[in-house]
C-alpha cells in the first residue's frame, strides 16, 4: 500500500457569479491510473469522480481501464444560488481524495 501514489486534487472555479450565470469548473488530479492489464502492477486506479453542489450531485463519472493518467474534467454549472462544492475522487481500494470550493452569487 505504501508505494501507491498519493494524489493532490485541484479545482478551479470563479469566486463569484451573477445569479443564473453558467460557471466553468475545472478539476485535475495527479494520478498514474495504472491498470496493470498489460504492464507492470500493482493496479492503482481511481474508481469514481463525483462533484456535488449544496449536497446534490452535479457530475459523477466511473473510471474504466481506458482512462488516461492525471484525469481532468471541465464542466459547466448554472449558478442559481450560492454554491458549496465538494469534489471527491474515490480509489478502487476505498481511499478518498476530496477538496472543496464555493461560489458567491450576487
Amino acid at each position: 500500500m505504501s508505494d501507491l501514489h498519493q494524489s493532490t486534487p485541484r479545482v478551479r472555479l470563479p469566486r463569484s457569479a451573477s445569479a443564473g450565470d453558467t460557471i466553468e469548473v475545472r478539476t485535475l488530479i495527479d494520478h498514474p491510473m495504472v491498470t496493470a492489464v498489460s504492464g507492470p502492477g500493482p493496479r492503482d486506479m481511481l474508481a469514481r469522480f463525483e462533484a456535488t453542489m449544496n449536497g446534490e450531485t452535479v457530475i459523477a463519472y466511473d473510471f474504466a481501464n481506458g482512462a488516461a493518467a492525471n484525469p481532468t474534467f471541465t464542466f459547466h454549472v448554472r449558478a442559481a444560488a450560492p454554491g458549496d462544492f465538494t469534489f471527491t475522487w474515490t480509489h478502487e481500494d476505498g481511499r478518498r481524495f476530496t477538496t472543496e470550493g464555493s461560489v458567491r452569487v450576487t
Binding site: T8, R10, V11, R12, R26, L28, D30, A69, N70
Partner: protein
Amino acid sequence: MTRQTRTTLTRRGFGTLIAASAATLATPGLLRANTNGRLLVVGGGFGGASAARFARINYPDVSVTLVEPQTSFVTCPYGNLILGGRKQLSDITHSYDGLRARGVQVIHDRAQEIDAEGHRVTLAGGDVLDYDKLILSPGIALRWNAIEGYDEAASEVFPHAWWGGDGSQITTLRAQLEALPEGGVVGMAIPDNPFRCPPGPYERISMIAHHLKQANPTAKILAFDSKDGFAKQGLFQDAWEELYGDMIEWIPASQDGRIMRVDTENKLFVSEFGEEHHVDLGNVIPPQYAAGIARDAGLANDSGWVPVNPRSFEAEAARDIHVIGDANVGAPMPKSGYIANSTAKTAVTAALAEISGRPAWDDPVYFNTCYSHAGEDYGISVAAIFRPTDDGFEATPDSGGVSPSGPLSEMSRNRRLEARYADAWYASITDDMFS
C-alpha cells in the same frame, strides 16, 4: 557538366547525379534557357542562411537574394551557455559577409508582405522583390497574451530569450541572473508542444543551475511546465540530481505546472488552478506560432503553423513558396536548427528542379541531432533520421536514440565527449550557414 558537381556525394546522391545527367542530355536547350532563375530567401537563420549558401554553391547560375532584418545573426543554440557563463554574445554572433562573398545579395530589411500570385515580396523599406521561387524561413512569433499579462512590454521584465534577435533578450536574462538576490527564486514558464527547440528549456535550467551553483548556491529554480514529459527527460533529471542536488524543482502540468497569468509588477506566476508563485526572476517561454509573414500570407492552418509538402516543403496553400525551419508543420521532426539546415537543402533542390533541369531528390532524408549541455563537460544528445510519408514525416525506426544513461562515475568520459561533439556540431553547422 561541372554544373552537376555536388559538395557531397553519397550513394543516394550519386544515383540522382546520373538521373540528372540524363535529363540534362535530353533537354540541353531547356537548361540553357532557364539559367537565370531568381531565388529569394526570406529569413537569415538556420533555414534561410543554409538555403542561400547551398543554392549559391550548387546552382551558380541562379541568382540568390536573402532578406533579413538583423545585420548579424545571434544563434539560439548556445545562447544558454551565455547564462552558464561559458560563452559571450560575440561567440554566438555571425556575420553575413561570408554569404555576400559567395555572391548572395543580402538585404537587411524586413519582408512585410508576400504576393504569392504575383511572385513578389514587399519589404518594410518599400522595395519590391520579384522571385521565381521563394524559400520562406521566417521562424517563430511569440503568442503575446496567450499567457495573460505576457506581452512585449512584459518581456522586458520577464525575458523570454527565445529568439536571437539583437541578443538583448539573452543578455538581459544573464544580467538578471547575476543580480539575483542571495537565495532568490528563478521561475521558468515552459510551453506545451510544439515549440522551438524542445530540449532548450531544460538545457537552460541546467545552465542557470550551473551558474547559480557557483555564484548563488542557495538559490532555487522552479520550472513550471505545461507538459508532463520532455525531451531527454531521464538524462536531464539524472544530471540535475547529480550536479545540482535539490536546487531544481520541475513542476509538470499534472502538478499544476501550467502558468496561465504573469504579473510583472508583483513578480508573480499564477498557475492553472490559481496558485500564486512569487519569483525574483522570471523567464517566460510563451506558446508560439509561425512568424507573422507566413500567417498573413494565408499559409498557416488553424494551428498557426504552415503545412508543407514533405518532399519539397512547398506550402500546401501556395505554389512556389517553400517553407522551412520552425514555421512549418514538421512533426515528429523537432523545431531545431539542425532540421532547418537539413531540410533547407531538400527545399532548394525541389524549388530549383525546374529551373536547373536537375530533378528533386526522390527519397530525401532529414537529419537531426540535438545536443544539450547539462553542466561543465556534460553533454547529452538525441539523434534521429526522418523521411517523408504520403502526408507528413516519420522517424526512421532504429535510426537514432539518446545518450546512454548511467551514473556519472561510469559515464563521465561519454558526457565529456558529447560536450566536445556539441561544440564541433555548433562550429560545423554555423560554417554550413555562413562561411
